[in-house]
Symmetry: C2
Subunit: 147 residues, 2 copies
DNA sequence: ACGCCTGACTTGGTGAATCCAACTTACTGA
DNA sequence: TCAGTAAGTTGGATTCACCAAGTCAGGCGT
């Protein structure tokens, strides 16, 4: 069973469906590492995840189409696989950004290293938030949710 | 111990700190329900969470300042407590919105009921995404992350 | 007054997910 | 040939989540 103890891929609520794929322990941190450029098993391993769990998560992320497993060879080393983000994987960036913004604001830490998001073309700092149809930002406190 | 088997409230990475508070099973779904207006134990219970886990999560959310527990009495019923979002709790809305958007886009379901976010003043539909300092939207595919 | 009902939990036992240490496999470079 | 490293796998312990059942308090019908 690929998703035991999950909310189900067929749930009506899209938050439940997302969490079925992304909600298990370590999964979102692996995506964060991938956005920071990590691709190999040993690199992901450094965040402290047990190696058996890492193997299981990487397999699941490949199966679900968030990571692509590719043969890789740097010279002088033997061939092995690397894990790179697919389009579906890359499109989780707003989730990572929203988590980072909330953590920076609401869970202070002496060791905090704030995470920054920049425009790829001109390097302007970016923030995550709500925008209307014309591309204008709207304060989160002014937003209503409807099912 | 309030956060066993977590990434730690003192982690340098804000994503890890957020997930220490928000990452356990059911927690983000309880926030979603709160945004949809639910406040009482029995209402939260309807999403399928075991009652012992619900009691533990509500207590943790109150302790961490995301929910406020308030005495509540509707006429003809006895007094009981309701759980309402604090400012810190309300500011998780971008996380919920990002999860909802990804789920709607990447985890299709026959039973899907898309989630909508509206401007509280004029009802315009809103989307979650990156904006620059001037409040203009930037495509997620053009965004760089830096540690 | 008495028992019943409902909401909000608590308890005990079970299974699943995670953790940890140790082991394996495949290749490489000395 | 031998040590070293990357990428796993395996076995056993621990923590977490699940489920059914029980508790407790206040209100209501009779």
């Amino acid at each position: 069973m690929p998703h035991p103890r999950s909310y189900g891929l067929e749930a009506a609520c899209p938050v439940s469906r997302s969490l079925t794929v992304l909600g298990r322990r370590w999964t979102l941190l692996l995506l964060r590492e991938a956005f920071l450029g990590k691709t190999r098993f040993a690199e992901f391993s450094r965040i402290g995840i047990p190696s058996d769990v890492l193997a299981a998560r990487l397999q699941a992320l490949v199966d679900e189409g968030l990571f692509e497993r590719r043969p890789y060879q740097s010279d002088g080393e033997r061939a092995r696989d690397e894990y790179v983000l697919t389009d579906a994987g890359r499109s989780t960036l707003p989730i990572i950004a929203a988590l980072a913004a909330w953590g920076d604001e609401h869970v202070p830490s002496a060791a905090a290293e704030p995470m920054r998001f920049l425009d790829g073309e001109d390097g302007r700092p970016l923030t995550i938030g709500f925008t209307d149809g014309a591309g204008r930002a709207v304060e989160a406190s002014d937003v209503l949710i409807t099912r």
